[in-house]
Each structure stands twice: as structure tokens, then as C-alpha cells.
Amino acid sequence: MNTEATAVQTAPGVGDSASFERHLSLSALPESWKNWKKEYWEKYEELPFPRTRDEHWRFASRIDFDLSGFQLAEDASDDTIEEVLSRSNLVAERSGQIVFVDNQLVSEEAIPEELAARGVVFLPLAEAVTKHPELVERYLFQESTDLGSDKFHALHNAYSESGYLLYVPDNVEIDAPFAVYHWHAAPGAALFPHILVVGGRNSRFSVVDAQQSLFEDRTGFSCAVGNVFAEDGAKIYRRTIQNFNNRMVSFQLDTNNVDRDTAVRGINLNLGSRRARFENEVRINGAGADVKLYSLTVAENDQEFDQRTLQIHNAPNAVSDLLYKNALMDHSRTIFSGLIKVAKDAQQTDAYQTNRNLLLNDTAQANSLPGLEIEANDVKCSHGATTGQLDRDELFYFLQRGIPKRIAQQLMVFGFFEEVIEQFDNEELEENLRGLIQAKFEKKQLDAVTPKMETT
């Protein structure tokens, strides 16, 4: 382990062109992909770092953009791989599983014969590029972000070759989820997970992405990009768990392109990272689409979770509904900035956005920027944002039943979470996730309750 650490520290950081040149020279990818990489690297170098006065970075703390401490990691040791595989256990009943450690593919579980026969593709990107060039050509790196992190998006595209393609052809319906683990292990490792999910017409399936750290005390940087494409009538459910250790800096830049009559759901559980930036964009391009977005964030210590969302309605008669819940402890901060954009011709749109922040300590800080831009008149759009504490009367009710304060608070907090957790819609996963959340509450003193009513 020690030798690994030293080796990494002498290498240039991923923001350094020497690092990129080295990466390119070692890459075994086809020339066409390498040319993309060069383009994106140039774009990365051209684009300025975001400033906190940019609207898309409003309320964000000054971010330390120094990437010199983060490098592409060497291959993991056998011990690490063994450990990682034993802990990749959130979903037992599944249609397939792929595991990465620090960008390195360490396990690839074949999908059932029957699915392969029907044309389902679930492959690491590097493999997909040779086996299904037409899919890769059509969907890979086609997306950009409109929410402020274009420089990091370019950096991701310049480096990323780990990640996977999940393609489910027309009319194929699959019950058990696909599972993918993106582990962080080496000190200072830079991760670039790429998630590409394509659902053909009337397909139905779900996928779970888990981003975790193997060690609690190691720094790292992760810049993930996830692109979902839902063709007419597709029903896709993407679940994401971000549970890196609290020393990580992480970005997750997601887009969802949604066609006619689709039902697309996205849910995120955010627990880890020192600084976590999450951008999620939904583009509704077909009438009758139904999109639901959920997120639950549990913030502690000096963690900062910065969430930016965009629900774009370009087609009529579609529904989008967003619920982001944040629970904040200690000195943590959250930022929720969401915008619903309804284009001129997108009549009969129903679009909603709800942000609920629960302050569990006086020192935590919640910021909300819920926005609406509406250019069609026959719409139902609303947003709501609340920030408050555990209700003192509810707490008294628990106490009166003999339940000690500490347990009462936890029950109330988990009650607040439950609305989102139950949307994971997978009992095994829900139980595992409750366990992950529970761990964050060990030894916490929660002191914030609503103030006493003043009788006048």
C-alpha cells in the first residue's frame, strides 16, 4: 500500500496536460475515440473554472479546483479487488453486475442467456466500443451539461473510459435490476465513471449505480457522467447511491432524454463526499412522458451537497415531478437549485418541484433556489421549498409514549426519509440503504427543534 501511495503522489494531477498526454499514450482505445479525447481535452483547457458568482454556482462555497492531488490510479492489488467484490452486495437478485475500482474493470458478470439472445447489451464501455460500435457511435459523449460544470464535463470526456453501456432493445421487459459498482480505493485516485443507459421503444428495466469508497481516510476525486436515453414508451428506473468517504470531491453530471409516452424515474441517495456536486437535467422531447425525480441527502460534519436540476418541457402533455429532501447535521451545507422550463408549445404540462430541508443542528445551512420559467399558459406548475426543524409537538408525542428523546428524534428523521426511501421500490435495497444511513447517525447529538409557540 505504501509504495502505491508514493508512486501516485509523484505523478502529475489530472488537470495537468502531462497527465493527459500520458493517459492518451497508454490508451488502447480506437483512434476515433482518442480523437474525441483530444478535442475534449482542448475544450477543458479553454473553458474557465466556474466562479461562485456564476448563477449556476450561487451559494456554493469557494471550491478548491486544485486537481494536482488527483491522479489516475495504478491497477488495484488482489487484496483490494477481493475486498471490493465481497462488499459489492447491495442487490442480490439482479440481471447482471459490473464492478470497477478506480476506473479499472474488476468483475463482469454475464447477463442471462435469454436476455443476451434478445439483444440486451450490458458491457463495460471499452468492450462495447468494439462489439457494438453503432450504439457507441450513436450515444456516447453526445451530451453536454447546461448547469454549470461544462469544464468538468469536458475533463470527464477527455479521460473517461471506464463505465458501461446498458442497451435494452424494443419491447424487452426485465424485472431484476442491473447493478454497477464504482469503487474508490487508492489515495488521491481520480475516477471518471461513465454511465450510458439506452431504453428502446416500450422496453422496461432498471439499473442501480453505487459509488463508494473502500477506505474512509483516503482522498479522491470522482467526476461521473450519466446519460439516459428513453425512446418512445420506454420505462426506465435509474437508482444511484453516492456513498464515497467524507474526504472525496465528487461530481455527478446527469442527463435524461425522454421521448413520447415514456415513464422515467431517477432516484439518488447522497451520503458521501466532502464536496458533492450533482447536476441532473431532464429533457422531455415527446408528448405524454412521465418523469419522476427523487433525492435524499444526509449531510454531516462539513459536507457540502450542491444540487442543480433542470426539468425542460419541450413537448406537450407531459408530467415531471421532483422531490428533493435534505437532512443536515453539524456544519453541513446543502444547495438545491432547480428550474422548471416550459417551452412555448408545451401546453398541458404538469410540472412540480419540492425541496424539503430538515435542519438537525443550528449550525447547518440549507439554501434553496427553486425556479420556474414558463412560456405556455395552459399548465399546472408549482414549486415549494421549506426549511425547518423537527416539530416540538411531534417530539412530545413520542416522549409521552415513553420513547427516549434520542430514539424519538431518529424515528422522526427516518420518518422524514421514508417518503424517498420507499421510492427505491426494492425491499432488499431499501433495507441496505437504511443501514448505510443509520451509520451516519451514530453518536450524533441532534439539537434543533421548532421553537415554542408564543401565545398572545
Partner: protein
Amino acid sequence: MSQLEIKNLNAGIAGQSILKDFSLTVPKGEVHALMGPNGTGKSTLAKVLAGHEDYEVESGSVLMDGEEILGKEPDEVARDGLFLAFQYPLEIPGVSIANFIRAALQARQEDGEKFDAPAYYRRLYEKMNILQIDKKFSARSVNEGFSGGEKKRCEILQMSMLEPSYCVMDETDSGLDIDALKIVANGVNLMRGPDRGILVITHYQRLLDYIVPDKVHVMYEGRIVHSGEKELALELEEKGYDWVRDELATTAS
């Protein structure tokens, strides 16, 4: 000593005194009714007994089986055996009834004692059956979206599961139609017994047709002004609370 004994209690909220030298004793094995007009301090009494931190106690004492409970934390008082059925039960989103009652029972266990889940559910469903609550309710969030009657039945369910020594029932009849009232009263009557004292706080006599009290007390402006047998409730029903007021005015002059 087996009694809930309230002695010369003076208490209030936000600097306003409400209970004035209030005294009342409810022995185990008896059901007492406390009646009185709105704003006379009945609910304040319930909250003070349960140790609500927003209420200020100026003086007096409350002995439960001889032990002072004023100044204790609300959860401690509850585990010592006092149960308050709320006039307005709170809605607790995301916490199921089953988990809520289970947490309350576990809080009463000795350290290291194992919780017998199957036995718990058997008992829970049995009680739900008596109170005519659908089993499915056990998975629903506490009181969330419940009708007035459902909330009150849920209170009685908790009471019967926790088996307290003393029950204080704050306006349990408010918001109930006659069918729900009978179910609730039946639940309470099943809990009557030599090991339990019950204080029923109510504005109307109606509930007392179904829960027949051993004693009736009339409260007015923060203290008890009349005590008697169950017939007192009927007399009060007939004459109205104006009678109490007029009578007091006469005594004072």
C-alpha cells in the same frame, strides 16, 4: 399509595397562570371524570401531568404511587406509567404504527432483554381487532391522513398496548360520531381494573353514558369546584355550565 395524587398545583403557560391550587386524587381501580367548560384548564392539566416543557409549574406536587413526577422528563413520566391520550393526536409521517408502538415497548425493556416480535404482532393484531382497526393500519404512518375517529382509536390502541398504571384521556370523545364513541368506550372499559386509575377529561356528559365513572369532578377557572357521584354529570348536563358559574358568583358575594 396506589394513586395519582395532585396536590395544590399552580401552573400555566407563557406567564399566564391557569391551574390554581388544583387538587385531585385518582386511586387505582377507579375511573374519574373531569368536566368543565372550554378554557378552564383541563388540557393544561393533562400537559402538565405529562411534563410538557412549555408549561411552567409554580408550585404543588403530583405523586404517582407516592413518587413525585413533576420535573421529570416526559418520557420518564410515561415509562413510570402515565399515559396521555391526546385531544389532537399528532401526525408522524414515515413512522408506522407498528414501529412506533414497538419503539415505545422497547424503551420499557431492561437492557439486553430480547424483543419478542412474533408475540408483539399477535398482541397488536388482537388489540386492533377489539378496536375494529384494520390490520393494514399497522403499516400506515401514525395518524397520517386518519379521520378524527381513527386517530382516537389509534390512541386507545397505544394505551392498551402500553398498559399504563394511570391514563389521562384528554377530550377523547371530541370529533367522534356515536359508533366510534362506542368502540372507543369499549376499549377503555376493557382496560378498567384494580391496577389502573383512569382520568377522563371531557366537556360533555355523552361519553360518560358509555364509560361510567366512579367519581365526577367539575373544574372551573383552574380548580375543582364540585365533586360527586356519577349523577353529578347528569345534573351538570341538565343545568349547564352557567349553573356552576352562577353558583360560584353567589358563594363569592
